[in-house]
């Protein structure tokens, strides 16, 4: 499974620092009931963000959080 198809709940479980990335990008994802359905691709489409940037921001945030 590509990173793009990971759902938001899995992302947040695996990389808790991603919370701040979702917040920074002004998404409603943290706390949303649809977390287990939305993939990063869906998030990028909904909020018109670049998928690649979103993933690299999550990776950066997680590296810093360690």
């Amino acid at each position: 499974m590509s990173d793009f198809q990971v759902t938001v709940d899995k992302v947040l479980q695996r990389w808790p620092q991603a919370f701040w990335v979702f917040m920074k990008n002004k998404t409603k994802c943290p706390g949303c009931f649809m977390q287990s359905f939305c993939t990063l691709t869906d998030v990028a489409e909904t909020y018109q963000l670049s998928r690649e940037n979103l993933i690299s921001e999550i990776v950066d945030a997680s590296d810093k959080g360690k």
Partner: protein, 243 residues
């Protein structure tokens, strides 16, 4: 600053008044200039004067006992406000009038307007027109608030339940299916099946959901999230005053 009586014709209530009457109103009036953030009157004060905003901008706001403020209306030049004392005995201002920039208003005793209205039907009719306009506006807002509240509740219920028992429909984009009837949704959201049917039919038209006999399919989860947060673009008119 001096006011030309003819300017008062820009006030809706005075648009049919004679020059002599307008001169009288100006003579009886007192000009009050206040700074940004200062007040013309406070909620609960005796409504002895009515006001006509001559320059600047002001707002009418109400405060509840807990101190929360609600902006009722923004006032612009040549609008009349605080005139209920001309119609009601011993009236108190139901709202506070606060300037939003340096402002000047003409304050005239409400008793004088009351006296003039006895013999000048156009003043009464124009004031009634203004009042009925406010009533219609408030009814509209009340309806919007009531509908918005139930829509938010239903959206939140569907999203919450979808988070627990929903299944993503494969190859259909971001689509989630829920094995719920309208009755289930009504019970879970504390409303009636009629309301649920009406709201779902509206959402169906807008492409947000698809409602079957025993299932609800969410076609646009983000749209529902926006409704549940009170951010439904169809209910939010950017031109209306903030309530």
């Amino acid at each position: 600053m001096k006011i030309d009586p003819a300017d008062l014709r820009r006030v809706s209530v005075f648009r049919d008044a004679t020059d002599e009457d307008l001169t009288l109103f100006v003579q009886k009036g007192v000009l009050r200039s206040i700074e940004d953030g200062e007040f013309f009157f406070f909620q609960g004060d005796p409504a002895k004067y009515f006001y006509i905003l001559v320059t600047g901008r002001a707002k009418l706001l109400q405060t509840n006992p807990a101190g929360q403020q609600v902006n009722l209306r923004t006032l612009t030049e040549w609008q009349i406000f605080g005139a209920l004392g001309a119609v009601r005995e011993n009236a108190l201002y139901p709202a506070t009038a606060q300037a939003m920039e340096p402002s000047t208003a003409l304050a005239i005793e409400s008793d004088f307007l009351k006296e003039m209205m006895q013999t000048r039907p156009d003043l009464s009719v124009n004031l009634m027109q203004l009042m009925t306009g406010y009533i219609m506006e408030m009814q509209e807002r009340y309806r919007e608030l009531a509908t918005e509240r139930v829509e938010r509740r239903i959206a939140l219920t569907i999203l919450r339940l979808a988070g627990q028992i929903g299944k993503r429909v494969p190859d259909k984009g971001m689509t989630v299916e829920l094995p719920l009837s309208r009755q289930d949704v009504a019970e879970a959201s504390g409303t009636t099946i009629f309301t649920v049917s009406r709201v779902l039919a509206d959402w169906e038209r807008r492409g947000l959901v698809e409602a079957g006999r025993e299932r609800v399919i969410i076609r646009n989860p983000h749209g529902l999230v926006q409704i549940s947060e009170g951010l439904d673009p169809q209910l939010t008119d950017p031109n209306s005053d903030p309530l």
